[in-house]
Symmetry: C2
Subunit: 167 residues, 2 copies
DNA sequence: TTACAGTAATTGAAGCATGAATGGTTGCAA
DNA sequence: TTGCAACCATTCATGCTTCAATTACTGTAA
């Protein structure tokens, strides 16, 4: 009655059904995300790029002080090196400005300019309505199912990602 | 009894709870995908990039004929212009080769070389075990919930993406 | 005070991604 | 046959993304 293969005996064994379904979940997640991303990006095209939108959106909901590169980096899950370029382009458009923190001159706050605040106020609701258009038609049960499942997945990934991968 | 505001009367109205939850779903989807993507990429780092892995993986499961740029483009949801570069790099490493279709000289087949096939055979199972490691620990009910929800979302996006956006 | 470990942002190289424009190829219609 | 519309891959410009190396600044310990 002993099984021919167990979970991870040595490494080179066929995957069990449950493991297969984990992989399938990841593939579906990736497919859905990229499929949706196309529409999301398309709807945003004339306004700005998605990463730029994300920055504006975070700044809009932050207080007067603005956000540092480190903070934005954590919020948006991108590297600080990446942000430098994104902020450069937003700054060229006059939508944000850099301001060194006088208390700790290593940090620089990123703040919305007047123009940037106006722009964010204009495009955020517009984008939200586009998002609704893209996803509306899904049955509410499905939406709830996904929301709660994704929340669980999020918890799992947060916990897993922290203390590195064992083995 | 007539409601104060309906779904899309003119554009500038507050979102309804159900619409809010659609947006929340998208945000969670994006967060989870990017969070997981970090781990997935990290696990693949020494082998090759994720897009390159995806190409090798598709070629491995295709028959001897290989795949054209158009076919790969549809399968991987990337533009043909993008693929040109990815295939260039795989070709430089000797893992794939281009071969013009003699029946229609516009098309070029991309095929695994001997070396490419060996390499794919080596890294695909390895990567699958890494994926399992990243996601294992999730309760099976959650996995099923996500799998079925994502399948529905996929259907919706496929249907929606085809015939453009109405309005 | 000076050395230094740690943190913050920037830079640079490589690769991924898009959209638009280009050149080769095909098949069909005039 | 010639013209042409449609299709395929490539190229180009722009921007995103990572990782690794660098510069600038801070606080602390010698």
């Amino acid at each position: 009655m002993k099984p021919l293969s167990d979970t991870q005996p040595h490494g080179h064994l066929a995957l069990q059904p449950h493991e297969r379904s984990l992989i399938g979940m990841w593939l579906r997640l990736a497919k859905c995300y990229n499929l949706a991303l196309r529409d999301v990006r398309a709807s945003l095209r004339d306004a700005c790029t998605l990463p730029q939108f994300d920055v504006l959106s975070q700044l809009k909901r932050s207080d007067e002080r603005g956000l540092t590169f480190s903070e934005l980096s954590r919020l948006l899950l991108v590297t600080a090196g990446n942000l430098t370029g994104i902020i450069d382009r937003l700054e060229e458009q006059g939508l944000v400005r850099r301001e060194t923190n006088p208390e700790d001159r290593r940090e620089t706050f990123i703040k919305l300019t007047e123009k940037g605040r106006d722009y964010a106020t204009e495009i955020i609701p517009k984008h939200e309505r586009d998002l609704v258009k893209i996803f509306s038609g899904l049955k509410p049960e499905i939406v709830d199912q996904l929301r709660s499942g994704l929340a669980e997945l999020r918890k799992h990934l947060d916990a897993h990602g922290r203390h590195g991968s064992d083995e």
